[in-house]
């Protein structure tokens, strides 16, 4: 009885989103170890949930479009005739869909109630690791349905976000430079699965998705790209300079290779303060030839700093292929005395496994190099078509065979974690989320002109600077 009352209460409180209700089931499930509805109360509650979640919205929509339309038009005879015609067309559509379309949400709800979302699944990583001066981690990785679904959702949001940024750039909402990450999403998503908030990440300029992974929002990213106030760096940084203090994301750096010594410094602080976290200093195959990287590697090895150097090898440094710029394109070996692993960067699970392994290693022994074998579909930046130094066949070949999102999709389908329809729904939700963030970001205002002078120094610089008309704008630098 109590269970029924609780269920009804939850429903009436209006908070009968899918999560609220099903979460109870999951908790029960974990306690009982059984993933099925066991009591009448749960059954009734479940039925109510299906009704409210799946059927009621459809009914409401139907009523809105018919009765609401008629009333809205003034309740005249013509309006009512139109409303009836609309109702008939809706019914016809539903019949055509075979009622399946109408009940798809119900199916989703049911399957989610019945699926065991956090039960562990073990999978094998298809592409083996390559190691340098260290043992390879096991190719068997433990994951769960929820984790895989999250991978899918997050990567899809990232992909949509980058594509939206592409069209924003072309329509001149974003100016300056825009380096897109699509194709490489598996690296940052896989990394996040193995890290927590005590770890720090510092990367180069291809940082939109890394920012998302560290806790940023799509709105912040879009606003920052367009140089608006709601951006993560107040609109003053732009595409290449996104930061997140809470998430331990230290940017977002424009000068190639300059972030690696900074990563060593972050790791030193973590070690000194006994934070039990690691720093991931990310760089690309172009930056792997910078002297400062080797300086950073030397000092981090000398002092046993918990830093993991992650080389995102997308095989092209702007327009230069790796074999043309590096004597040894085996970047995982370039640390020499620092052990390294080569990882298939298009496989979230491989990345997760490698980062987990590297984190354990770094906390004990010192630095490690991870080379992520990945690929970017876009050119280096928006002003690079991306096809002058590589063939379109190559790009589409990688897209067909190694795309990270498709890989997770196949895993989800083959392990019966989600159906095609559910994945489509997830994709639609992701698209909507990105579109909402985009429209909100477009409404965000530009930063105030005073912001030109703020944050140059901490405070009290004291000098004055002026705008075009000295009568109008005279600012004391704060």
């Amino acid at each position: 009885m109590q269970g029924i009352m609780e269920s009804i209460q939850t429903l009436c409180s209006g908070d009968h989103g899918n999560e609220g209700f099903m979460q109870d089931d999951e908790d029960e499930e974990e306690e009982n170890g059984v993933g099925r509805l066991t009591s009448w109360a749960e059954l009734l509650g479940f039925g109510l949930a299906v009704f409210s979640e799946a059927i009621a919205p459809q009914l409401q929509c139907f009523c809105d479009r018919t009765l609401g339309f008629a009333v809205g038009q003034g309740g005249s005879r013509e309006a009512w005739i139109k409303a009836v015609a609309m109702a008939m067309s809706l019914v016809r559509k539903a019949v055509k869909k075979g009622w399946v379309g109408a009940l798809a949400p119900a199916a989703r709800v049911m399957s989610q109630a019945l699926s065991t979302a956090s039960e562990p699944i073990t999978l094998d990583i298809p592409v083996p690791f390559k190691a340098h001066k260290v043992e390879t981690p096991s190719v068997t990785v433990e994951t769960s349905a929820q984790e895989l679904t999250n991978f899918f959702k997050t990567m899809f949001i990232m992909r949509r976000m980058e594509i939206a940024a592409d069209s924003l750039y072309k329509s001149k909402f974003i100016r300056g430079f825009c380096h897109l990450y699509d194709g490489q999403e598996a690296v940052c998503v896989g990394m996040e699965a193995a890290l927590n908030d005590k770890d720090c990440i510092i990367t180069a300029y291809r940082d939109h998705c890394t920012h998302l992974g560290r806790g940023g929002s799509v709105l912040e990213v879009f606003a920052e790209l367009m140089g608006r106030k709601d951006g993560c760096s107040l609109g003053k940084g732009g595409s290449m300079h996104m930061y997140n203090k809470k998430g331990g994301f230290y940017g977002g750096n424009g000068i190639v290779g300059a972030q690696t010594p900074l990563g060593a410094g972050l790791a030193f602080a973590q070690k000194y303060l006994k934070v039990e976290g690691v720093t991931l200093a990310m760089y690309g195959d172009g930056a792997a030839n910078q002297g400062q990287l080797f300086e950073a590697m030397n000092i981090s090895a000398l002092w046993n700093l918990p830093v993991i150097y992650v080389c995102e090898n997308n095989h092209y440094g702007m327009g230069t292929a790796e074999w043309r710029s590096a004597k040894s394109p085996e970047y995982y070996k370039r640390g020499d005395y620092i052990p390294g692993l080569k990882v298939d960067g298009m496989d979230c699970l491989a990345v997760k496994q490698a980062v987990k392994y590297a984190k354990e290693y770094a906390l004990q022994n010192g630095p490690m190099v991870l080379e992520m074998d990945t690929y970017r579909y876009h050119g280096h930046s928006m002003s690079d078509p991306g096809s002058t130094y590589r063939t379109r066949d190559e790009i589409s070949g990688v897209r067909q065979e190694r795309d990270p999102i498709e890989r997770i999709r196949k895993l989800l389908l083959s392990n019966n974690i989600a159906t095609v329809a559910e994945l489509k729904t997830m994709e639609k939700e992701a698209k909507k989320e990105v579109e909402d963030a985009l429209s909100k970001a477009k409404e965000s205002p530009s930063p105030d002109s005073d912001e030109l002078f703020t944050h140059v120094y901490r405070k009290g610089y004291g000098a004055k600077a002026y705008g075009a008309d000295r009568k109008e704008v005279v600012v004391k630098l704060p």
Partner: protein, 398 residues
């Protein structure tokens, strides 16, 4: 957003290269006679009597630079062009077709390592070759700053003239471009102007670029050649097709005037020219000088001009504190103090990092030049007491 627009008429007025008996026609450049050994060099403007009809092409700046590089590689078999992505033509197309014509051994890509690029160039130059290193953007030149300052500039001095790296020329695109942001818009010329031993050269237009680049490459001293990236495509001019050089350490008077001297370089000159046009409607005649070589700079020409007009305004994109305008202001104040009727005015970028969306506010725009120019109002450092010195004050005191 403020955009610079270049009308063809404006650009053609910007040009007036000094033709004449250029001592260089494919051989090694020899310093012009009368050059003193001090840091200040004598001006040696060679006025041509009557420039004979030269064959010219209407091209933009990157094509002019490309022509200059073709000429150098043609004339000297021991010259090399290298840098990031120069093989396919470079990100600004300045090195197009060089590799096809001269081969991969003379025109080659380097990996992403500015310090090594310049260091390698110094070594190559010290063996008597002409090394033309390209740094992709001037913002990235800072890893190479150590090599330029500590190796290139001091090589001849510390070896007692046994060795030198005079054949080194470092080319870099510099300056604002409208949407460059922090790391594609900087003007770092002031850092290099502080180093005796190298030369810093900045052209303002395609014909100037070709002549000055040829002179820089053939100069027996290491030269840092900054190219205003805004002008790569926008500035179009009639450029002579043959091999010619323009003298280094020689400023050029772009237009004569009697009321105030304006000194600038690079893309900023176009802005200053627009400002000059505007104030000439108020009856103030401006003398506009293109410095061309920043060190060693043509002090005598600027002094002569200031002695004539009595007022000086310097303008550059780099931040005002510690910019090269400060050196000019200090020198001229020292030498022309009694003649000056007003303190030297500097209209420069603000003392902030080069901003992203705030670029129009940061830049020394035409209006800022106008204000500084028009009433000849020079603000004190605390900006509270404008001091009016001009002989014309048609508008209210600011």
């Amino acid at each position: 957003m403020v955009r610079r627009r270049f009308s063809f008429g404006l650009v053609s007025r910007l040009s007036s290269p000094i033709y004449g008996r250029s001592p260089c026609s494919g051989g090694i450049w020899t310093p012009c006679l009368g050059q003193k050994r001090s840091f200040m060099t004598a001006k040696d403007l060679v006025e041509s009597e009557e420039p004979e009809k030269k064959v010219t092409n209407r091209i933009n700046m990157f094509s002019a630079i490309n022509q200059a590089l073709h000429t150098v590689l043609d004339s000297d078999p021991k010259s090399y062009v290298f840098g990031e992505d120069v093989g396919f033509g470079g990100v600004f197309r300045c090195t197009t077709a060089l590799r096809d014509k001269f081969g991969r051994h003379r025109v080659f890509n380097t990996p992403l390592c500015e310090q090594a690029i310049v260091g390698f160039g110094i070594g190559l130059a010290s063996m008597g070759n002409r090394a033309i290193a390209e740094i992709q953007f001037a913002d990235y030149i800072f890893p190479a700053l150590d090599q330029i300052v500590n190796e290139a500039a001091k090589y001849r001095y510390r070896s007692g003239n046994l060795f030198n790296c005079g054949g080194l020329t470092v080319r870099a695109p510099y300056g604002a471009v409208g949407h460059g942001g922090h790391y594609h818009s900087q003007s770092p010329e002031a850092f290099f102007c502080h180093v005796p031993g190298i030369k810093v050269v900045i052209p303002r237009s395609p014909s100037q670029a070709k002549g000055l680049l040829l002179a820089s490459i053939r100069d027996p001293n290491p030269v840092v050649f900054f190219e205003p990236k805004w002008l790569y495509r926008l500035a179009v001019e009639e450029v002579p097709v043959d091999d010619y050089t323009l003298p280094l350490s020689s400023a050029e008077v772009m237009r004569k005037g009697s009321d105030i001297t304006l000194v600038g370089w690079g893309a900023q000159l176009a802005i200053m020219e627009e400002a000059c046009d505007e104030v000439s409607k108020l009856g103030i005649s401006c003398e506009l000088i293109d410095l061309r070589t920043l060190i060693p700079w043509d002090k005598e020409l600027v002094e002569d001009s200031v002695n004539k007009t009595g007022r000086l305004l310097v303008s550059h994109e780099a931040p005002v504190t510690g910019g090269f305008g400060a050196e000019i202001a200090a020198s001229i104040t020292n030498s022309c103090f009694l003649r000056l009727q007003a303190p030297v005015s500097r209209v420069c970028g603000l003392d902030t990092p080069f901003p992203l969306v705030f670029e129009p506010f940061y830049m020394p725009t035409k209006n800022k030049c106008l204000l500084s120019n028009q009433n000849n109002v020079i603000l004190d450092i605390d900006c509270t007491r404008p001091i009016l010195f001009g002989k014309r004050a048609p508008h209210a005191v600011l």
